[in-house]
């Protein structure tokens, strides 16, 4: 790792240079909110965004993606791989953590060539959050307020009139060498970034009443909590929570046929374990028929299963599901209530 400095007035040139060589994705304003989208010019980039409606996940695991094209009459198939060189700018640390989980999932046992081709051709440029996005984020409690080791290529910290750039990988170093007017950080810069970090830390609240290390164990004794039925009673099974989640990756697959009726493509698209038909099989049996069972499944994936399987967090504390939920089901309230049920009250 090395620390570089890019003056703010050199950022437009940096991004402009990237635009000449890569598809560049970054946070953009969309009415009153922010979204990740393709940049057309450097001045669209909003590194000061609070949170995005959807996480940048959609650029490595799109909502719809073609797995292969086919000709049913001749049984010819051709895999479709998207390996367009891409830079994603301004990824918050929660979303960097989420990307690490996706990387693990799509590499394990059966390597998913579609995901990995995108991922290997994507350069991740994180940005340090200096203020909480809103009341829903709980990154500090989840341990995701700092970027994951090895989980980014470059990481920016806003130092007022310049950005400090933490260069983590060779891919990141390449970007700096070829596209940025950057200088090495000096003693003053280190003093400055030290101050910025120290000042930001207290601005983020702890939202969980217990240590995140206890979450998998808490979940394992919460299988029969009455809370699941209470959540099931109010859940609308709309799937908003999973649609906005940076660590959700469940998908369905379907075939699309063009007007020739023989040529077409097979595509995968995001699916949601909250939808009624998710665990339905052909004979008509639904293995997770109640909303209570589906909410429990979702929270167990977030709080325990993924950690057991991959050693990584299944929830990164971004707060998107809480913002999206129409009936105010939130991970913070859910996890804290489970903790209260087991212990009689929050730790002081």
């Amino acid at each position: 790792m090395s620390l570089k400095i890019i003056p703010k007035d050199a950022m437009a040139a940096f991004v402009g240079s990237l635009l000449g060589a890569y598809r560049v994705i970054g946070p953009l304003q969309k009415e009153a909110k922010f979204v990740f989208g393709p940049l057309e010019s450097p001045d669209e980039l909003r590194l000061d965004y609070d949170t995005s409606i959807l996480p940048p996940k959609k650029y490595v695991l799109p909502q719809h993606e073609t797995l292969f094209e086919f000709d049913a009459s001749s049984f010819e198939t051709k895999a479709v791989i998207d390996d367009q060189p891409t830079v994603i700018l301004g990824v918050h640390t929660c979303d960097l953590h989420a990307m690490q989980l996706l990387d693990a999932v799509f590499q394990k046992t059966h390597l998913d060539q579609h995901y990995m081709a995108r991922r290997e051709n994507t350069i991740l440029v994180g940005i340090e959050c200096l203020d909480p996005c809103d009341d829903h984020s709980f990154c500090k409690s989840m341990g995701t307020l700092t970027p994951p080791t090895g989980g980014y290529d470059l990481h920016l910290t806003d130092m007022g009139d310049s950005f400090a750039v933490d260069v983590e990988t060779e891919k990141g170093a390449w970007l700096i060498v070829h596209h940025a007017q950057a200088r090495d950080a000096g003693d003053d810069d280190y003093a400055r970034i030290n101050a910025v970090m120290s000042e930001k830390w207290p601005r983020f609240p702890y939202k969980l009443d217990f240590d995140i290390g206890e979450l998998p164990a808490l979940m394992s004794v919460s299988q029969k909590s009455p809370l699941w039925q209470q959540l099931g009673d109010i859940c609308l099974a709309c799937g908003s929570c999973t649609n906005v989640c940076p660590t959700c990756y469940c998908f369905d697959v379907s075939d699309k046929v063009d007007l020739s009726l023989t040529k077409g493509h097979r595509e995968r698209h995001w699916d949601s374990c909250q939808l009624d038909e998710f665990a339905l099989v052909a004979g008509g049996h639904n293995f997770r028929p109640s909303r209570a069972a589906r909410q429990r499944h979702r929270f167990f994936r977030k709080g325990k299963y993924q950690t057991d399987a991959y050693g990584l967090l299944g929830c990164v504390g971004c707060g998107r599901c809480a913002r999206a939920c129409l009936v105010d089901i939130t991970p913070v309230k859910t996890f804290n209530e489970l903790y209260r049920q087991r212990t009689g009250g929050p730790r002081n």
Binding site: H110, D112, V281, G283, A293
Partner: protein, 273 residues
């Protein structure tokens, strides 16, 4: 480029109608290689332009001869189209996937098969594998239940098994017709008639979720050890490669850790049974 989602073409060599709803397809991979499966595994079957679904493999590796068999029930859009296919047509195949039955653990044991309904399709794979290596196992008992006589699968093989001296076969139907002279009642009514020594028995049961509840009661009630009771769990294995999430049972992916599980492995897993 090859990917984990690309099906391989397989040619239909023969189609045998079995019941009003089930047909047995014999397939050969177009490139000529063996499927290389274990009893209890499944494949993802595609019709390009229609879709893909998991289907258990019904033939045993011991009889593969470069081909494999799928017993397909017409239950939806995809299987409806598969049923319209003719000899010489192609289906797409991915797999085999999942964990099959650990036959090496069953050597020297008495084997009690208890398939119900379409559960005979995957059970047949392991039954024939055992029968083709008969000397390695003790007593072999097959208890098979179907709703009515017209839904009985693999009738020719049932007859063969019936005629063998080294197999005890008992068949029952819930609703007999006028010609039925055999047992009447659900599969659990057969258990008291079977001559097995529970302590040395491995039980293999495959059927619908409701059947497991009652069959497990019978098997456990005989004192068959929990680790010696093996089941295959049906789930919606959409991708077959542990990614899509549809077949997840708590923390287990049925397509990776299963679909074959011992009762000991899943008895504490909420929602598995």
């Amino acid at each position: 480029m090859n990917t984990i989602y690309l099906p391989e073409p397989a040619r239909i060599l023969s189609i045998e109608p079995m019941t009003a709803l089930e047909k047995l397809f014999t397939l050969e991979l177009a490139k000529g290689q063996s499927l290389g499966h274990q009893p209890g595994q499944f494949v993802e079957v595609s019709v390009l332009g229609v879709g893909e679904a998991p289907i258990s493999i019904s033939s045993s590796p011991s009889r593969s001869n470069g081909t494999f068999e799928l017993c397909v029930r017409r239950a939806g859009d995809l299987t409806g189209v598969i049923h319209q296919k003719e000899v010489g047509d192609q289906l797409g195949i991915r797999g085999p996937y999942g964990r099959g039955f650990p036959l090496e653990k069953f050597r020297g044991k008495d084997i009690l098969f208890a398939p119900g309904g379409l559960g005979l399709a995957p059970a047949r794979s392991v039954i024939n594998q055992v029968l083709d290596d008969r000397g390695r196992y003790g007593r072999v008992t097959i208890l098979y239940g179907a709703r009515n006589p017209s839904e009985l699968l693999f009738k020719d093989e049932l007859k063969e098994w019936e005629e063998r001296d080294d197999v005890e076969l008992r068949v029952t139907v819930d609703r007999p017709d006028d010609e039925w002279t055999g047992n009447v009642g659900v599969i659990t009514t057969l258990f008291s008639k079977a001559s097995v020594y529970p302590r040395n028995t491995v039980a293999i049961t495959i059927g619908p979720p409701i059947m497991y509840r009652f069959v497990l009661m019978e098997l456990l009630g005989k004192g068959i050890p929990e680790a010696s009771i093996w089941l295959s769990l049906e789930r919606r294995m959409k991708c077959g490669v542990g990614k899509c999430g549809h077949c997840q049972i708590n923390d287990l992916y049925a397509c990776q850790s299963g679909p074959v599980f011992s009762y000991a492995e899943i008895k504490a897993v909420e929602g598995a049974l």
